[in-house]
């Protein structure tokens, strides 16, 4: 097994997809830059097929190799350009450029060189477009130092540069300036807009694209306008027309392959399709969920996809119909709900789209479903006070879900507490009770108590609020027979302590005690009579987190304070057991063991401490867990306990620790080494030899394909061998006891014969197909063919047993003739 100390931090999902425009490969794969990786998705199944890692920093650009559509160039902030074979996921070559690469372009016209955006040496915040000559060398790692500057003072984003028709010119926009450089004429034209702010906003350029066949440039602007530039060969006589629909910045533009359609998208999350560059003909695809960041078209024009700011990819048909969406961990503006595990599906539950709760499957890196909590139309507009989900809690078996939503207004939060019941019929949560204004001020924490779900009265919900009270909610049977549902929730008890704000609440494992923290004090209440049992405090500093110990440590209560103390109180003696100086940000108990994980944030690094409440010495410490600040953590129970040899990592046996950083990347701790983790994920991609399959190419290419297939079959007979063993004749031969078998020399011919015949079946089938295609002579369809095949096998068995067959049918005779014709040359290999 692995050596101790090999506990690694592994990214699980949620890395930003926003590095670069997505790229459609020629054969229905979608390639995306995701953090340090390049992801390969299947367009038809939405599945993540491959994760290509190798860059040491953020991937900033991906482009297909224009000379080989099976290869992909990717650039990264680590200063390298990599050439990949994305079918197999192998890096072919690595070119080291040396400085940060911010964008990558591979126009088809440029032979053996690519264009990248790099920061200008010696000057900050100035960038230049350079062409990099990719040297041809034998090795894998090559140096690419042959740089030539094309344009100076370009924008940093990949959207700010575009290559024109057949790579004749390059366009770059920055602020209010547009520059066009003609490669052949070595001519640089600059145009600029007035800097005066118009009513709608400023007219800074936000993106640029070029018409694929004509000399036309489309630019997007920060005030929502789209300008179409023509005649820009002349410095003076240039013209532009304006299209205006967006009310906010145009985030990206894309021309269709023929250039007749222009797609634009922005903050409104509406994809607009402009026809023939006129402003009157346009189509909309509204409500795509979140602001559009990038738009890309597939090379055959059948699909386009939009990348959204919340890390979602939407694939859209050419007739502007929503096709499917690829969504991993949706990035929300702020994960207010924390990380919660759904007890039913073991999925991670957190804020998703605005107003939605996402159920994210950790195993498949996919969103299982998204539950609409707020149920209101979300308006994508800056400065609106939207209501969003802030708290979520599940009951132990996952039958009840409690959610709290509030609007962003500080003074009047417009709170709603909703209780959802899991309905087995529809397999989803159904709203049971809605409570308006459960508290007068923001709700700070919420938890369920349930020891045994069979007894409904044990189910209690506690909410704590900044209005200095905590409230206990219970289920009540509805006495009215006419009511649609039999139970609803209502308030049972209101508790307060010296008019302090209630900040956290937590039930003990057996549900008998409730701990509520009021600023500096932790109060412990009896959950039957709602009597205040005792109070604890560790001044100075407010309580930030509390939790009860579990299993053997259930007599302990753990609390973390603002002033950086972790305290453990004994509930039996009502005394402080121990305390440690630690600035704890996250305190998370493992539901299946006594272990408690505490994540501290000290001097810009997060450290993990795992301890048992009964002893002050931590079991495990990992300093500098990751660069970013860890905001949330959760233990997810494993399906089956993992075998962990090292004593040190026993706490990871029953459950896995996941944590979310402030850049919303989901990470976990793994004891497995890198190779082990990667192996299951590397699947073989189906290689499609041909370019896009059109109905015509289907017709034409089928014949050719078949021949190729035949060649392959004949070329690799050994591969088949394994399958052949499954045939009953061979099985019989191999499994009969040795003493009843005739001599080996006698059997040998029969054995080889049996192999031959089943081999013939294959080729016979194919030839039959061919016959069917080519002429009308073939009267038998494939079904019949199967029948004959069966019979054939039967006869072969009979031969094995040494009995003569009766007359052969016509079709059988035909089969035999075919067999005679086939090539047996490969047998010589034996």
């Amino acid at each position: 097994m692995v050596s101790p100390g090999a506990l690694r931090v592994v990214r699980c999902g949620g890395s930003t997809l926003r590095g670069a425009r997505a790229v459609f490969s020629a054969d229905s794969y979608l390639l995306c830059a995701a953090g340090d990786f390049v992801k390969v998705y299947s367009v038809s199944t939405e599945e993540t097929l491959r994760l290509m890692g190798g860059h040491a920093d953020l991937v900033t650009g991906i482009q297909l190799n224009p000379h080989n559509h099976m290869q992909l160039y990717s650039s990264s902030l680590d200063g390298t350009i990599k050439l990949w074979d994305f079918m197999d996921g192998i890096p072919i070559k690595t070119f080291t450029v040396g400085s940060k690469l911010l964008a990558l372009y591979t126009p088809a016209s440029a032979e053996e060189s690519v264009f990248v955006v790099i920061p200008k040496k010696g000057e900050r915040d100035t960038f230049q477009l350079v062409s990099v000559k990719l040297t041809k060398g034998a090795g894998q790692d090559l140096e690419a130092k042959d740089l030539s500057v094309v344009l100076d003072g370009v924008g940093v984003s990949m959207k700010h540069i575009a290559f024109g028709r057949e790579g004749e010119y390059v366009v770059s926009v920055k602020d209010v300036n547009l520059q066009v450089y003609f490669f052949k004429r070595k001519l640089l034209n600059r145009f600029s807009l007035s800097t005066v702010k118009t009513k709608g906003g400023d007219n800074h350029f936000s993106c640029v694209v070029c018409h694929p066949t004509e000399d036309c440039i489309a630019t997007g602007h920060a005030d929502g306008k789209i300008r179409l530039w023509r005649n820009f060969h002349h410095r003076k006589e240039y013209t532009y027309s304006t299209l205006h629909w967006h009310h906010d910045i145009v985030m990206d533009l894309a021309f269709s392959m023929e250039g007749s359609r222009l797609l634009s998208g922005g903050v409104e999350s509406v994809l607009v399709q402009w026809h023939n560059e006129s402003s009157c003909q346009k189509d909309f695809l509204p409500r795509l969920g979140s602001p559009i960041e990038y738009i890309s078209m597939s090379s055959d024009g059948a699909l386009c996809c939009t990348l959204h700011t919340d890390n979602r990819i939407t694939i859209i048909n050419s007739n502007l119909r929503f096709s499917r969406s690829i969504q991993g961990l949706i990035k929300s503006r702020d994960v207010k709900t924390g990380l919660v595990v759904d007890p039913r599906t073991k999925a991670l539950v957190l804020n998703g789209e605005p107003g939605h709760l996402q159920f994210y499957s950790l195993q498949s890196d996919q969103q299982l479903f998204s539950l609409d909590i707020v149920q209101r139309q979300y308006i994508h507009q800056a400065g609106l006070k939207q209501s969003d989900l802030v708290k979520v809690a599940f009951s132990a078996q996952g039958t009840w879900l409690a959610t709290v939503e509030e609007s962003e207004e500080v003074t009047d939060p417009e709170l709603q507490l909703k209780l959802w019941f899991y309905s087995e019929e529809t397999q989803s949560f159904k709203l049971n009770t809605r409570i308006n204004t459960p508290h007068d001020n923001h709700i700070t924490d919420m938890c369920f108590r349930d020891m045994d779900e069979l007894e409904d009265d044990s189910l209690i919900l506690v909410t704590t609020g900044r209005d200095c009270v905590f409230k206990v909610w219970v289920m009540v049977e509805d006495s009215d027979p006419e009511a649609q549902q039999s139970v609803s929730w209502s308030c049972d008890f209101v508790g307060s302590y010296h008019n302090y704000q209630a900040t956290n609440c937590c039930f003990s494992e057996d549900g008998s005690l409730l701990a509520v923290s009021f600023e500096e004090t932790v109060t412990v209440w009896d959950s039957l009579t709602w009597d205040l049992k005792c109070t604890f405090c560790h001044p100075p500093g407010n309580i930030r987190n509390i939790c009860f110990g579990r299993l053997t440590c259930s007599k302990y209560l753990i609390g973390a304070t603002d002033y950086g103390f972790l305290c453990c109180w004994n509930l039996l003696t009502c005394a402080l057991e121990w305390s440690a100086h630690l600035n704890v940000v996250v305190l998370q108990p493992d539901p299946l063991s006594e272990h408690i994980a505490a994540v501290s944030w000290l001097s810009k690094e997060s450290s993990l401490f795992v301890f048992k409440p009964n002893e002050p010495r931590p079991i495990y410490i990992q300093r500098n867990l990751c660069k970013e600040k860890i905001l949330l953590a959760v233990f997810v129970p494993r399906d089956e306990p993992e075998i962990i040899s090292s004593e040190k990592y026993l706490w990871l046996r029953r459950s896995q620790l996941f944590f979310l950083t402030d850049t919303q990347e989901l990470m976990t701790l793994s004891t497995k080494s890198l190779e082990e983790r990667l192996t299951p994920s590397s699947k073989q991609l189906a290689v499609e030899g041909s370019l896009p399959v059109t109905p015509f190419s289907l017709l034409l290419g089928k014949h050719r394909c078949q021949q190729a297939q035949e060649d392959i079959d004949l070329g690799k007979p050994v591969v088949r061998h394994k399958q052949e063993q499954a045939s009953p004749a061979v099985k019989e031969l191999l499994h009969t006891p040795a003493h009843v078998l005739p001599s080996a020399s006698f059997l040998c011919t029969i054995f080889i014969n049996s192999l031959l015949i089943s081999k013939e079946n294959k080729s016979a089938e194919e030839t039959a197909d061919e016959v069917e295609m080519e002429s009308e002579e073939a009267e038998s369809d494939s079904d019949e063919e199967d029948v004959t095949e069966m019979e054939q096998e039967d006869t072969s068995h009979m031969e094995l047993l040494g009995e003569m067959t009766c007359k052969l049918s016509k079709s059988q005779e035909k089969e035999l003739r075919k067999i005679r014709k086939t090539d047996y040359s490969w047998i010589s290999a034996f």
Binding site: T314, S325, R376, Q377, L384, C491, D492
Partner: protein, 520 residues
């Protein structure tokens, strides 16, 4: 891609009474007809035969009213002093009435002069009734006696002097011609059998009995007295079945509806309550102007007549059944249209194309979807929506506020529209569920239309109305806070006792207050 989500209209639990089948049934009466009598109406009795005239006893007269007449069609006024308890016989042809002078008179409804006079009571007779054999009359008088009279001979058959106070009510059994009951101010109800010399059963009501009633089956007995209505099982020897305390003043009269499913009780507290005779829960309640002395229900519940202490007779007629055929003028597609193709079973090679379900959006939703705020607001200010479903109007206003376009939607309206808006706001701003939104709206309207105040009298009037409404609400809230403060002190004194049970009460009480507080 998500579809457009319609505006969420907050469903509030209905304030006040819940609408049930009963409320709908008992609400189905026209506005009442008020008829002024000469004195307090002490008895109303419906004739058991069509056309269901009713006799009203008030002061020294008995008026017979027809079903829809507001003037008496006949009057019996041969009383020297007050008349009491004019009651029809089963065939509706004879009428008996007691009087202040102790004489019981029997009238033919077509005649004027009494057919018989039964003299024997020494004090006023407040209760007269026919036994179900039609030939005998029972009576109860203030001389504590209950008598039985023979009609043909006009003689007293038997006299029971068992009550120890005024006998003020009674009822004859419909099942047995010999059985009748009387209720008295001595807190008892007594059951008599004409064949015996003394009472068969005595039931202790506990309060002076004002009214008694026997169910048509004869098995159950209802007595009313004090604030209580009690139901007794006669067959079990007078066991108390249920005691109802729904009035807060003396219950004066009882009445069963024609089906026997509902029991009506009228009281001095100005209410008529209707109970279900299966669950004995109040299913509906009528409110009247003054204390009620008598109530009667015509067969088939066509008319409710209530007599009051100030001599007003309140008559309510049932509305005719609405005929639905007339309202459905538009011809619906034939049934065949709907079932066409429904029964077709897809064959194996058939390719099924599922048609997407078309979602019907309300007008305001359509407008909101295309961001037409002003028009959306117009759509919900249409009178039908504004009057009947104000929550829709408020929900759209809230949605507009959420989108930040409420101000522009409110601005730029003419006098008529501003008037409409202000009427709505002034009327609804005090409703707790609408207050948070409408206060914002009112704020914005005042801001926007401040410069034009004084230009239109109508708008100015509305502004004043709004001010008045808000002023009233503030006063009301202050009062509520005072009450809350008082209750807090009360609860504080409770907690000192440290009693478990009290503490539980306290916590429950507190939450209730907090919840009511939340509503405001």
């Amino acid at each position: 891609m998500a579809a457009y989500k319609p505006v969420v209209v907050q469903a509030c639990p209905k304030l006040g009474e819940r609408i049930t089948q009963d409320t709908l049934y008992w609400r189905g009466y026209k506005t009442p007809v008020q008829i002024k009598e000469f004195g307090a109406v002490n008895k109303i009795d419906f004739s058991p035969v069509p056309p269901y005239n009713y006799a009203v006893t008030a002061s020294s007269r008995i008026h017979i009213y027809g079903r829809y007449s507001q003037e008496p069609i006949k009057t019996f006024s041969r009383f020297r002093d007050a008349a009491y308890c004019a009651t029809y016989r089963d065939d509706g042809r004879l009428l008996a009435a007691g009087s202040e002078d102790g004489v019981i008179r029997l009238f033919d409804i077509s005649g004027k002069a009494p057919l018989r006079q039964f003299e024997g009571h020494t004090k006023p007779v407040h209760q007269v009734g026919f036994l179900s054999d039609k030939y005998r009359i029972f009576s109860g008088g203030d001389d504590y006696s209950s008598n039985l009279w023979d009609i043909p001979s006009a003689t007293e058959i038997v006299s029971y002097s068992e009550h120890t106070d005024y006998v003020r009510c009674g009822c004859a059994s419909k099942v047995n011609a010999d059985v009748f009951i009387t209720g008295s101010y001595d807190h008892t109800v007594k059951l008599f059998d004409a064949r015996t010399k003394s009472s068969v059963m005595t039931i202790e009501h506990g309060h002076p009995v004002e009214s008694v009633l026997l169910f048509p089956s004869g098995g159950l007995l209802v007595s009313a007295g004090g604030r209580y209505v009690k139901v007794w099982d006669v067959l079990k020897g007078g066991q108390l079945l249920v005691s109802l305390k729904n009035h807060h003043k003396t219950v004066t009269c009882l009445c069963l509806n024609s089906s026997g499913q509902r029991l009506l009780s009228g009281s001095l507290d100005r209410h008529v309550k209707i109970y279900s005779t299966t669950s004995y829960k109040v299913v509906h309640s009528f409110n009247y102007a003054t204390s009620i002395l008598s109530v009667a229900l015509s067969p088939e519940d066509e008319t409710i007549v209530v007599g009051m202490t100030n001599g007003v007779l309140n008559v309510k007629h049932r509305k005719p059944e609405e005929k639905n055929e007339k309202s459905q003028k538009k011809r619906q597609p034939a049934y065949r249209t709907y079932v066409k193709g429904r029964t077709y079973m897809p064959k194996q090679e058939d390719f099924c194309v599922s048609k997407p379900v078309k979602r019907v959006l309300r007008k305001y939703d359509k407008l909101l979807r295309s961001f037409q705020s002003s028009k959306a607001l117009d759509a919900v200010l249409e009178p039908p929506i504004m009057l009947h479903t104000p929550e829709v109007t408020v929900a759209v206003m809230q949605e507009l506020h959420r989108r930040g376009t409420l101000r522009s939607a409110l601005a730029g309206r003419d006098e008529k529209q501003v008037n409409l808006l202000l009427t709505f706001v002034a009327r609804r701003v005090i409703e707790p569920r609408f207050t948070p939104v409408l206060v914002t709206v009112a704020d914005m309207i005042t801001d926007i239309y401040q410069p034009v105040v004084g230009q239109s009298a109508i708008v100015d009037k509305q502004f004043l109305k709004l001010q008045e409404a808000i002023g009233k609400e503030i006063d009301y809230q202050e009062e509520l806070l005072e009450v809350l403060g008082m209750m807090d002190t009360l609860f504080a004194t409770f907690t000192k006792k440290r009693d478990m049970c009290l503490e539980e009460n306290k916590s429950n009480g507190l939450t209730e207050i907090v919840e009511t507080n939340m509503n405001y």
